[in-house]
Symmetry: C2
């Protein structure tokens, strides 16, 4: 991904992408920036600026080709390039993510889950096996997996993260509310469910 896409932009790009998928399903071939802008409650020149970033020219009075937009969003966001990942923590959230097929169409390939609960080990979820956590280091090495999706309870988050780092995991998508301590070689992405919700709620609901 040569270009450095700002967080806000990549967020909007995925929203645009969803709209493109919808338009394709409905057989609509072109879409204009005001249409999209109105749908998302943003400015239409914002939409055009974002599309320009994709090097995707529109046609005056007509708009953009839905198919082309969808393709270049996918290319820009790297959907095409599949990335393998492990889910660590086969609790409810872990299982939910394992079943979340959208990941696949967005280029994130969940290979397996890990847990320390013997009852869960060897179960299958959405064709993915749950392994005992002790098997992780070996599988990381054999499969060259760099990404872990962390869905364990908060109190174990740091200890498990340390274990993942020892096992050579390079990227942690952190769904726990803990703020992980990691060395500079490891990148953490905090999925901050409450943060984004509070922002939403605070604006209106008092």
């Amino acid at each position: 991904m040569s270009k450095n896409i700002p967080e806000k932009v990549s967020n909007r790009l995925t929203l645009y992408h969803s709209i493109m998928v919808e338009y394709i399903e409905e057989g609509i071939e072109t879409i204009s920036s005001p249409q999209i802008a109105q749908r998302l409650g943003i400015d239409d020149s914002q939409v055009r600026k974002d599309f320009k970033l994709l090097n995707n020219a529109g046609k005056c009075r007509v708009g953009y080709l839905v198919k082309d937009l969808k393709d270049s969003i996918e290319k820009t966001l790297g959907f095409a390039k599949t990335k393998d990942a492990f889910i660590v923590g086969a609790g409810h959230l872990g299982l939910a993510l394992a079943k979340y097929d959208s990941f696949n169409s967005y280029g994130l390939n969940i290979l397996a889950l890990f847990d320390n609960d013997p009852q869960k080990v060897d179960m299958q979820v959405n064709n993915k096996q749950i392994f005992h956590i002790s098997k992780l280091p070996n599988l990381v090495e054999r499969l060259g997996v760099e990404i872990a999706i962390l869905t364990v309870p908060r109190q174990y988050a740091q200890a498990v993260a340390d274990f993942l780092i020892d096992s050579n995991i390079k990227y942690i998508w952190n769904f726990t509310p803990a703020v992980l301590k990691v060395p500079p070689t490891v990148k953490v992405w905090n999925e901050n469910l409450m943060g984004s919700f509070l922002q939403f709620a605070c604006k209106d609901i008092i």
Copy 2:
């Protein structure tokens, strides 16, 4: 929430909050902006600016009082004010969110779940009952619930959202990848799992 807290700030506030919780557990009473900044990989003056927004003064050479910071973050983000919500869609994600106890401590109170699958109806999840979706309008009215957390499959998202809106739901926290069409009286918050992940992944993993 009188003040209009920008999205990025409220995001950082929840991260600060997690760190405060951790410090309290460890019995540490003060924390400095450089400590926090280093942990999150951001600038320390940024942290101070955010704290200033909370009207929370620090002490030179010492830092801020952890307890005070935690309290004022909670006050500012409205943790104190409990908000009731329904989860619509008792699939894996819906069940996971129903079990996610952090919601409660952040002031979001899940009252019940709804689904159209007769097999799921009347089950209990984390002390919350699953009702048939047809019961929703009545319960919205009786309990005065304004928030729905939407976790149905994408293809039903718009239809279910329309139903929620007819039932007088005012805020939709949308976990589906669909971009909902709603009237201006209804606010949608898109939880864009892939968007935030792609942003993370794009930066490094190519």
